[in-house]
């Protein structure tokens, strides 16, 4: 057996081109499969970095009106449910937000922090490595502000000071004492680096609408998730009845802890892509199988000699399978290394880039991946080598040894042709999916954002109560900052807003005068933002009617709004919107009525591309803008339009902010084009990945068609010679070659198109709801395959045309 492997290895070394091509083909298929598997492994299979992770669950509300997948809980609900629930050890809660860090040497820094209940960290089962956990008394209003800090914050910002416990930091303007340091890599819930107590005070009635929290807990022994969900559903019904009004959500949802953090779209996309890469692998296997077949058909004499010398069937099979196994082992190693490198890159992109993934998602390969890799390489070896090997086992000794016989290990060419037709069919599936994905991405690129993102730099600043206790203080800050920003070189306009386009306007229910709806659930929604006078100029949003905001709109003047054209048309279809009145968040009795003074062109909200497709109710009816002077937010975004490279202004912008308040860090400082790219990231990456898979598939199909045609031309040299001698012209010879390839392509298309229809529908349902089966995609795919066929036929056709009848016949 060992000797068979040794000989197989040597035979491969003596055919370096065959070996290299096979290893590369199989390696790419295996590598892609391992990479996609490690993504699934990272999302689903790897255990969470907490003790007994299976017992950890997340609890949320959902809304049967399906406006959202999950709804956070109002803090008051959490407090009530925490006391009443009987299925979890405790119901912990958290909320995340900005933690402006000051008080250490160097400029102020914006961190992402979490406000957690005192039992949150212990529920997770993670204890601080220094100091103590948060305790219930920390949560009481008026308690001394304390924080548990993350390992890297301790290491990098506090120089790993061993006496860090008891030191104070300035967080969001409050002097906060450090009471603990968490272990390395802990960043619950997503990428946070400081944990502060979540207030457990019921406080004023206002609290309900102010704070929303996410809740989680550990199932008590013997309690299932379904039981917990039923318990919470009962408690919610009781709570709503007790309060005499509906809760924020009308259904309870208890789900595995990780499910809260991994978006179903991402998981769905990953699984779909996993299927896609398995198709690529199948194509690669078919290709290598057909190459191995061709190779051993040419080596039939050798196999016959071995059989005549006494080689058993098993030894002959092992001879062929040995080569496939060595190829698969090399390809598996190559694929594993490739997947490892891609995994590192992906981790970097995911964590540094978009914050889509929680900190514990790790793409680096582990034993699951290793087992999968070995398994997939073995499967590939069998898929690629078993059929040729079994045929080798049935070698016809007499025909193989006959003088001048090219020999055969069964009708290899027929099987090769079937394999190529199968490859073409699978390529059609991948090409169609890539086409659909690319069409979606192009449509998304062309989506009417309604804003000009070039030459605009944006950033965000969070102001907290201790330094900015009221609206006037916050407004003063923006008024002080504006002239410093406009004075920067090349800057033409500066705007402030509660949220900027593409970052996500705030979705709010609204009412108009005369609405008879009283149930808040039935009210329509709009996207709103508070913006400064120059906002529409910075983003190139044109004024259609009335006026924009200006100096007339002050805190004390009549409350006004500017609405988008689609909002105006939807809400007041038969009259002008000017002078009409609209109320945002009508559930709040103190919410003011706003008079519409202007209508501007439409601009899309941030997550349009995700939500418009998945949750139609998210679309909203358009935009309602308020003047920032009448509703100044505590966290404010700014945008400035400038000539030249806006990114080069970053440091000057930070300097301007520091000059106004050295304790306020600027974050998310980037060009608006980057926001645009971020929004399109998901669609683009899907299109890119499918594009890569499809290119692989097409290349493999070309290689497959080429191999079959080359083999065919070689085997039919005599026939071609005879035909030439009988007067066949170049066209006749070319037709002979192309007809063989065309048959494979046609059979492949006939099988592949229905498969592609089904698979692309699946793709649409799972990841790209907007994607449709566009006939153009199919036309392009068919054209691509015809071009591929012509390309693959090029060299065999040239060889066929060069066949000299005299030489061909003499050889015989």
């Amino acid at each position: 057996m060992l000797a068979d492997f040794r000989f197989a290895l040597r035979a491969l070394l003596r055919s370096p081109v065959f070996t290299l091509v096979s290893v590369l083909m199989l390696g790419s298929g295996i590598g892609l499969s391992i990479f996609m598997f490690s993504s699934i492994n990272a999302f689903v299979l790897k255990p969470l970095p907490f003790p007994e992770p299976d017992r950890l669950v997340h609890f949320e509300y959902t809304d049967s009106h399906a406006t959202s997948r999950n709804l956070a809980l109002p803090a008051l609900d959490w407090l009530d449910l925490r006391e009443r629930q009987k299925t979890l050890k405790s119901l912990a809660a958290y909320t995340v937000g900005t933690a402006n860090l000051g008080g250490i040497d160097g400029p102020a820094e914006r961190l992402s922090g979490a406000w957690v209940s005192a039992d949150a960290l212990s529920t997770l089962g993670i204890v601080p490595i220094l100091g103590r956990d948060l305790v219930a008394s920390d949560q009481v209003d008026g308690a001394e502000p304390v924080a548990v800090i993350g390992f890297s914050l301790w290491q990098q910002n506090l120089n790993a000071d061993p006496a860090v416990i008891g030191r104070s930091l300035r967080i969001n303007g409050k002097l906060t004492r450090i009471v603990g340091v968490m272990p390395r890599d802990f960043a619950f819930p997503m990428a946070e680096s400081v944990w502060m107590p979540l207030s457990s005070s019921r406080g004023s009635e206002q609290r309900e609408s102010d704070t929303l929290v996410k809740a989680f807990g550990r199932l008590l022994p013997g309690v299932s998730m379904a039981q917990a969900q039923a318990d919470f559903a009962n408690l919610m019904t009781g709570l709503a009845a007790e309060r005499g009004k509906p809760l924020r959500g009308d259904q309870a949802k208890v789900e595995p802890f990780a499910d809260e953090f991994i978006l179903p779209q991402i998981l769905g996309a990953t699984k779909t892509m996993f299927i896609a890469v398995l198709l690529v692998l199948l194509i690669a296997c078919a290709n290598v199988a057909s190459l191995v077949m061709a190779r051993f058909s040419a080596r039939a004499r050798e196999l016959s000699v071995r059989a005549a010398l006494g080689a058993s069937r098993r030894r002959l099979i092992m001879q062929v399978l040995g080569e496939s196994m060595i190829i698969a082992a090399l390809a598996g190693t190559l694929g594993y290394v490739g997947a490892e490198v891609a995994g590192h890159l992906m981790t970097r992109t995911m964590t540094a880039g978009n914050g889509f993934m929680p900190y514990w998602v790790d793409y680096r390969t582990d034993w699951h991946d290793l087992v999968f890799s070995v398994g997939i390489a073995l499967a590939a070896a069998l898929l690629a080598g078993l059929v040729p090997a079994l045929r080798a086992g049935r070698v016809d000794i007499q025909s193989g040894l006959r003088q001048g016989s090219a020999g055969s290990i069964g009708d290899g060419s027929k099987l090769g042709r079937s394999l190529v037709a199968a490859e073409v069919a699978l390529s059609v599936v991948l090409l169609v999916c890539a086409g659909v994905a690319i069409r979606s991405a192009l449509q998304a690129q062309d989506a009417p954002f309604g804003i000009e993102t070039d030459q605009v730099l944006s950033g965000r600043i969070a102001m907290f109560d201790d330094d900015y206790p009221d609206a006037a203080a916050r407004l003063r800050f923006t008024e002080n900052l504006a002239p410093r920003l406009i004075a920067l070189p090349g800057v033409s306009h500066v705007a402030f807003a509660s949220t900027l386009p593409l970052m996500g306007y705030e979705r709010q229910k609204y009412a108009r005068v005369g609405d008879d709806t009283t149930d808040d659930n039935d009210r329509p929604q709009a996207w709103s933002s508070s913006v400064s006078d120059d906002f529409f100029k910075v983003f190139g949003i044109t004024l259609r009617e009335g006026r924009s905001f200006d100096a007339r709109d002050t805190a004390g003047s009549p409350l006004v709004a500017v609405v988008s054209a689609s909002f105006a048309k939807k809400v007041w279809p038969n009259s002008s919107a000017l002078g009409q009145r609209v109320q945002l968040n009508p559930k709040d009795p103190e919410s003011p009525w706003l008079e519409v003074v202007g209508v501007v062109a439409d601009s899309l909200q941030a997550d349009y591309l995700i939500t418009s497709a998945t949750l139609p109710a998210h679309r909203g009816d358009g935009n309602v803008f308020r003047p920032i002077s009448q509703n100044p937010p505590s966290i404010v975004s700014f945008a400035l339009r400038a000539d030249g490279d806006v990114a080069a202004l970053s440091e000057s912008v930070r300097g301007a902010v520091t000059a106004v308040d050295a304790n306020l860090p600027v974050y998310w400082l980037q060009g608006m084009n980057q926001w645009r790219d971020k929004i399109l990231w998901g669609t683009n990456i899907l299109a890119n990945l499918f594009g890569v898979f499809a290119v692989f598939a097409l290349l493999l199909a070309v290689a497959g068609i080429y191999a079959v045609l080359a083999f065919d031309v070689n085997a039919r040299t005599r026939e071609i010679g005879v035909r030439r001698a009988l007067g066949a012209g170049s066209r006749g010879v070319l037709g002979l070659v192309l007809k063989r390839g065309a048959r494979q392509v046609i059979v492949g298309l006939v099988i592949g198109i229905p498969l592609a229809l089904a698979f692309s529908r699946l793709l649409g349902a799972v990841v790209m709801p907007g994607a449709s089966n566009d006939p153009l995609v199919y036309v392009v795919v068919i054209a691509a395959l015809v071009v591929a066929l012509l390309f693959a036929a090029l060299i065999p056709a040239r060889r066929a045309l060069r066949v000299d009848p005299m030489v061909a016949l003499r050889n015989e």
Binding site: A3, F7, R10, A11, R14, R301, E302, S304, V305, R306, A308, L309, G310, A311, S312, R315, I397, Q398, L401, Q403
Partner: protein, 221 residues
């Protein structure tokens, strides 16, 4: 050693059958050296394939060294072949990817001979055939005569009772052919049963007996 009784072999053809071997009765004694002659298509190679147990599709009876072949299944025939038969082909059929000594080693591997014994037997034959200096070369680095020498060595390394040679000198010039014929004569002297197919009257006459085939029939002398 060999007893063939009424061996017949044919292929179905449209409107009849194409006969390859007709009613072949043949006895070859242990240690006998026999030449098979006949024009192209007479059935020489087919007869050799039947004798060498490479062809199982025939009618009649065949006993090899006392074993009734027609009663054996495929596996048993293969085992019998491994034990009793050695082959020499006109076109040598050495394995291109294997060195000279590995080509000799291969049949022993297929017979699960222990490595130590294999090495000893290979060394012995390399010495005896005076090809020690060529042991590390590949077949493509040898002349035709040298390749056939290796092929003969490979055929006898398993110590078969019967050596079947299909035109062993057919592809060689006279000098090389002479060496091979001398070698066959030597093996015969040592007691090996040899059946050679040849077109060369001179070499055929070096055998003890000549069997002539025509259209699948053995010609009566």
């Amino acid at each position: 050693m060999i007893h063939l009784g009424k061996i017949e072999k044919s292929y179905p053809l449209e409107g009849g059958r194409s006969w390859v071997l007709r009613n072949v009765d043949l006895d070859i004694a242990d240690g006998e050296f026999v030449s098979v002659m006949g024009p192209s298509g007479a059935g020489k190679s087919s007869l050799l394939n039947v004798l060498g147990l490479m062809d199982h599709d025939w009618q009649g009876s065949y006993a090899l060294d006392g074993v009734v072949v027609d009663k054996l299944n495929t596996k048993q025939r293969q085992a019998l072949q491994r034990e009793k038969i050695g082959f020499i082909f006109q076109h040598y059929h050495l394995i291109d990817d294997l060195k000279v000594w590995e080509n000799l080693d291969l049949p022993l591997q297929y017979r699960d001979v222990p490595a130590k014994e294999r090495a000893a037997r290979v060394a012995d034959l390399l010495d005896r055939f005076q090809i020690v200096g060529k042991k590390e070369l590949y077949p493509s680095q040898l002349s035709g005569g040298q390749q056939q020498l290796v092929a003969v060595a490979r055929a006898v390394i398993t110590r078969p009772k019967v050596l079947l040679a299909d035109e062993p000198t057919g592809a060689l010039h006279s000098g090389q052919a002479r060496i091979i014929m001398d070698l066959l004569a030597e093996l015969h002297k040592e007691g090996m049963t040899i059946v050679q197919v040849t077109h060369n009257e001179l070499y055929a006459n070096e055998a003890q007996r000549i069997i002539r085939l025509r259209d699948g029939w053995i010609e009566k002398s």
